[in-house]
């Protein structure tokens, strides 16, 4: 087994980090928890233990207009996998020795046990990115519906106020459950950003009435989103989950890492389409894959996470069920840049030529990923899974995943959905599109279900909606309250750390200006 030695760094870099730590301590806008996690990131930035592939440093530039590869704040010496998906069913059945908990017997014990467990599930944000298929997990405990509703209400409020990050995701469906219905009804009232929620939807399994209740809830509180159950199941098996933004992963596993390539910036490095496909793209793809290999090697072989953490020791997660997510962002920017260089008219989302070029690029990436092997991704055939990353708050002129830029959406909704369907099938570990919906639809939720049915038939994987006038809105994948962003803008403390990300994205990416459908 390979062991890397810690490399020397300059005193200048140490002092830079120290200054930033001091600034963090004195910051008035951050809550205590936000300060602690930021300081940990700053300390980690001083680590140098990974062996970087040649050419990586240049591609990881800090300049948002130059940056091509980015590890999304995972750190220089990963202490845990990025996304962890515990098997909560196993926990409810057997309890946990480490936590000193026996299996719960009623709805109060079950919700309490889960809340305790959540506090011990690490992730890149330090909060759980997956909290279970709550419909299925809680269903056996729903005896008296009124009592269950009271318990679940407290459970959801507790989550919203203590899991301070809206990358936390719960699932319901595809079958209708009483617990699932209660959750939907409560979310309509509570209008909370946490947890994010997905309905696994299958028109042959999910009853229309349940789906319509979900649609109604989505128009009130911007969740749940709808996941194409058939599609995910065919690729990942029955035991897939939706975590974080919209990431398809295996239950009892997760993702070691998510690195992403900014395709818009990458295109700038090529003089023409030919050079892009033959030279620039393959090189960058290889470098990012090697970087991910090295990060995974460190987590598995050096960090000791899988040997020491109770989640692995008690079998709630298994190393063999982890994979890694190979992210791309800014396909639209890439296509438009290459077309300009070729002096070809047309823009992504508005010409067949542009869309075909988009598909060609994604196919090239897909084929690279399917040919790259990593020894620790056995569960997905030894390969990484493609992921359409949605961007981060500091990105400039970068369009999320394979989306059409805000402000350039096609006039006809059908055209827009068909465009989504061209790209969604390539991304088993997540891609999604978001549509604000006319308020009139609240009275006719079947409208949304018709759209979802049609879209899934046409290859769409994941859809999110919110009402054009609701307080909770979906930024890129996560949820934020408009009212909380207002508070933060006025210099007040806010509970969730994603509110800051939301506010920056609203400024940089115009997310509140999407075309209303």
């Amino acid at each position: 087994m390979k062991r890397n030695f810690m490399k020397e760094i300059s005193m200048e870099r140490v002092n830079e980090a120290r200054n930033e730590i001091l600034e963090t301590i004195k910051n008035h806008q951050l809550t205590h928890e936000q300060k602690v996690s930021k300081m940990a990131v700053l300390a980690d930035s001083l680590m140098e233990v990974l062996e970087y592939p040649e050419g990586l440093k240049e591609l990881m530039s800090n300049d948002p207009e130059e940056k091509v590869i980015c590890d999304l704040g995972e750190g220089h010496a990963p202490v845990r996998p990025r996304y962890i998906i515990p098997d909560y069913q196993a926990f409810l059945e057997h309890g946990s020795e480490f936590l000193g908990l026996t299996p719960p017997r009623d709805i109060w014990e079950a919700t309490n046990a889960l809340l305790i467990f959540y506090k011990h599930v690490p992730s890149v944000t330090n909060y759980p990115v997956y909290v279970g298929n709550l419909g299925e997990l809680l269903e056996p405990f729903v005896k008296d519906e009124e009592e269950a509703k009271k318990a679940i209400r407290l459970f959801l409020i507790h989550m919203d106020r203590t899991i301070l990050d809206s990358f936390c995701h719960a699932n319901i469906g595809p079958t209708e459950t009483k617990a699932g219905r209660i959750i939907l009804e409560l979310e309509q009232e509570l209008e909370q950003a946490v947890p994010n929620l997905t309905l696994k939807y299958d028109k042959d399994i999910t009853p229309d009435s349940f789906a319509e209740l979900a649609a109604k809830t989505a128009l009130k509180s911007a969740k749940p989103s709808f996941a194409n159950h058939q599609m995910f199941k065919n690729e990942l098996g029955d035991d897939y989950v939706i975590a974080s933004c919209y990431n398809g992963l295996k239950l009892g596993g997760g993702s070691y890492t998510l690195c992403r390539m900014l395709l818009g910036n990458l295109a700038k490095k090529a003089h023409n389409k030919k050079e892009f496909f033959e030279d620039v793209l393959p090189q960058a793809l290889e470098i990012m894959a090697l970087y991910m290999d090295e990060r995974i090697r460190f987590i598995v072989e050096e960090s000791g996470f899988f040997e020491s953490n109770f989640l692995a020791k008690e079998g709630f997660i298994k190393r063999e069920r982890f994979t890694a997510m190979y992210g791309i962002v800014g396909l639209a920017d890439c296509v438009n840049n290459l077309l300009e260089k070729e002096n070809i008219e047309g823009r992504f989302g508005h010409s067949k030529l542009a869309d075909d070029l988009g598909v060609e690029i994604i196919q090239a990436i897909d084929s690279f990923v399917k040919n790259h092997n990593n020894p620790y991704c056995e569960i997905t055939g030894g390969h990484f899974l493609l992921h359409a990353q949605v961007g981060i708050d500091s990105d400039v002129d970068s369009t999320p995943g394979c989306r059409i830029p805000i402000g350039e959406e096609p006039e006809n909704f059908a055209e827009h959905l068909l465009h989504c369907g061209k790209f969604h099938p390539y991304f088993p570990s997540g891609i999604g599109d978001i549509f604000p919906i006319e308020v009139t639809v609240e009275k006719n939720p079947a409208y949304l279900i018709d759209v979802v049915k049609g879209a899934f038939e046409k290859g769409v994987r994941y859809l999110s909606f919110y009402s054009s006038n609701s307080d909770v809105v979906r930024i890129t994948g996560y949820l934020v309250k408009r009212s909380e962003m207002e508070k933060l803008k006025n210099g007040e403390n806010v509970l969730l750390d994603t509110t800051k990300l939301g506010l920056d994205s609203v400024k940089n990416s115009h997310v509140l200006e999407r075309k209303v459908r």
Partner: protein, 281 residues
């Protein structure tokens, strides 16, 4: 013989013209003249007066070979032409053959469950409908008609067998009130309501509530009374629409919008006749 349809507007994805997601097609031309009409530009067919041409700021409308030509690409949707029209019409209509209309609608498959023909009054172009509807059925789309109920029932029968049903306006119940609202009689409307309900083809009735114009409570009560037994055998939705001045001709936008408690009171009344699906919009 192939008929053509004169169409004012198509909404590809509509959430307010029947259940689910539907394409709504608005025909040009209506035989009523409702005082509160919300889209008065659909009432008349174009009389070729040319009045609108000089009002268009972008030159999107002109007269060529004794026809008003409208170039959509140049239009900025300012509606100056509609305001200038002295006949409640619009130069922005399009003539469709059945094939062309079906092609236009088919772009929205599989996202829509059906098509709603509205207007204007869609049954005034019955021959065109007769040709279009079978083509839509072939594509798996169900059809609803949104009508004022003045059609001849005998003539509409062949269509009726092929469609999901009708959403019918009951503008007012008493003859006197109906004339006040629409400048027309309503005997045929009420007969048709019953004929449709008997055949389980009456999916929805709707009344625009304008308390200052007619006795709205009486209309709602009498309509519910008339249909209550049919509702037991096949559910009928009753939609109560709040009058709003948006889109109404300036000289006629003189009524006030009924308040929520009054609308809720009407809703309760309809409920009391056994109607489960009552909505206020």
């Amino acid at each position: 013989m192939k008929h053509v349809g004169i169409i004012n507007k198509i909404i590809p994805f509509s959430a307010v013209d029947g259940p689910g997601c539907r394409t709504a097609v608005f025909f040009q031309g209506c035989n009523f003249n409702c005082q509160y009409c919300h889209n008065p530009e659909t009432i008349s067919l174009c009389k070729l007066c040319g009045n609108c041409v000089s009002h268009c700021p972008t030159g999107a409308i002109y007269i060529k070979e004794q026809k008003v030509v409208y170039e959509k690409e140049k239009c900025v949707e300012c509606d100056a032409c509609l305001k200038a029209c002295p006949y409640n019409s619009s130069p922005k209509t399009t003539v469709y053959t059945p094939g062309k209309l079906v092609e236009t609608i088919a772009v929205n498959i599989p996202f829509i469950r059906g098509v709603t023909f509205s207007g204007g009054e869609c049954t005034l172009q019955r021959e065109f409908l007769e040709e279009v509807i079978p083509l839509l059925s072939e594509r798996g789309l169900n059809v609803l008609l949104d009508s004022n109920g003045t059609f001849s029932f005998e003539q509409i029968l062949p269509i009726l067998e092929q469609i999901e049903g009708v959403m019918l306006d009951i503008k007012a119940f008493s003859l006197e009130d109906h004339i006040k609202v629409t400048e027309n009689e309503n005997r045929i409307v009420l007969t048709n309501a019953v004929e449709l309900a008997e055949r389980e083809k009456l999916k929805e009735v709707r009344t625009v509530i304008v308390p200052e114009l007619f006795d709205t409570k009486k209309t709602v009560i009498q309509t519910a009374e008339l249909l209550q037994n049919y509702n037991k055998q096949s559910e009928i939705q009753y939609k109560l629409i709040k009058y709003r001045p948006i889109g109404v001709r300036k000289e006629k936008a003189i009524y006030s919008t009924p308040d929520t408690p009054y609308m809720e009171e009407l809703k309760e009344i309809v409920h009391s006749f056994g109607f489960k699906k009552v909505t206020i919009t």
